[in-house]
């Protein structure tokens, strides 16, 4: 059980959510991330397992980030439309995490469930050289996990996969129900 229930009031709850911006160096993050990748690598047998583990860790980040961002950036207002939640990710989430907007947000031509977030040079990949024998490995699976958690916890269940395409592309596939709901909302 969390301490705030067992030990009474936690000092963390008293702290304001908006704070002066604190910064750390990109090197510190890059080194930490590299250790994470190596740790995951030591416990798996395949590239897909490795990516799944990175995505799991990303999910933890996304889940913790969602509430604080909604409160801070949107004043507590939550998104109900697919396009808006995608824009929230492209703009607010990316700014909070990487200090910039995502390069591109696109919808698949032939499929209304599928969207792409395209990042030419993702921060998480900027210091990683992928070995030849594992050329499909894309450590932005971590970012994919973040996005998946944010979508899922906002009520837009989706699967996010990572691909090497125009840099790195996160492919977001929403559940059928999400798209159906969105269409119903539009009709109103």
């Amino acid at each position: 059980m969390e301490t705030r229930f067992t030990r009474g009031k936690s000092a963390i709850l008293e702290r304001p959510l908006t704070r002066p911006k604190t910064e750390v160096s990109v090197s510190a993050f890059a080194l930490l991330f590299s250790e994470m990748v190596q740790y995951c690598q030591s416990r798996v047998y395949s590239v897909s397992e490795l990516q799944a583990r990175l995505a799991d860790m990303g999910q933890a980040v996304g889940a913790s980030l969602l509430d604080v961002l909604v409160l801070r950036e949107k004043n507590g207002k939550r998104e109900t439309k697919v396009l808006n939640i995608l824009l929230f990710i492209k703009v607010s989430v990316w700014r909070a995490l990487f200090g910039k907007e995502a390069d591109k947000l696109e919808q698949a031509n032939d499929d209304d469930k599928t969207y792409y977030i395209i990042e030419k040079e993702p921060l998480v990949n900027s210091y990683i050289s992928v070995p030849k024998e594992n050329s499909t490995l894309n450590c932005a699976a971590f970012t994919g996990g973040i996005v998946e958690a944010i979508l899922t916890h906002s009520g837009f269940p989706a699967k996010v996969t990572v691909h090497w395409h125009k840099g790195t592309t996160l492919m977001i596939k929403f559940d059928e129900a999400v798209i159906a709901r969105d269409k119903a909302l539009e009709g109103r």
């Binding site: 160096s25 909070a96 971590f142």
Partner: protein
């Protein structure tokens, strides 16, 4: 002395949350807190071994004359450069071989609470490994541990560093010694 060039900065939240995700994962993977502490220290060590090169390249810090200078460089240059904080250096032992770094804000523990069943977890143990690894690469063996931690209810976060010995270096013949910046004690 205390000059360093700016390196790229990023919002500390991604760093804090990523570290949190890592510790959470370790807690799932290992049976007890001691194992997690050990693993964090090991990962920190690996980071430190690589970080020192980055540090020497970016900062214009030369070799330190004594352990006191090393302490200052760690607190005022290294911590500032990588974590954006400046711990204070205090509690020197009379012999001058042991001191404490007091961290007022530890970016690793922003919005972190330890659950009751992880009371022996040293959440930020990574930092000890980093310091140990980095100093080992400049021929100093040190012992680093957390003496106090706000996460565990202490008033401040205190990292205790003890100098053990100077590591004798065995450079391969032909290695350009002048080019390598070293800290001699």
């Amino acid at each position: 002395m205390l000059m360093f060039c700016c390196c790229l900065l990023q919002n500390s939240e991604l760093f804090t949350l990523t570290y949190g995700a890592l510790v959470t994962q370790l807690c799932k993977d290992y049976e007890n807190d001691e194992e997690v502490n050990k693993q964090l220290d090991k990962m920190g060590y690996n980071i430190g071994v690589r970080l020192i090169e980055d540090f020497l390249a970016r900062s214009s810090v030369g070799r330190c004359q004594d352990f006191r200078e090393t302490a200052d460089v760690i607190a005022k240059v290294a911590f500032k450069m990588y974590l954006g904080i400046t711990p204070s250096v205090t509690n020197w032992s009379p012999a001058g071989d042991e001191f404490s770094l007091i961290l007022e804000n530890n970016p690793l523990v922003d919005f972190v609470e330890l659950p009751d069943n992880h009371s022996t977890l040293i959440y930020s143990n990574l930092l000890c490994g980093v310091l140990r690894g980095a100093l080992e690469m400049v021929q100093m063996a040190v012992d680093v541990r957390f003496a106090q931690d706000t996460l565990r209810g202490d008033n401040v976060t205190e990292i205790r560093m003890k100098f053990i010995k100077r590591i004798e270096e065995n450079l391969p013949a032909g290695d350009d010694q002048e080019e390598r910046k070293m800290v001699f004690y």
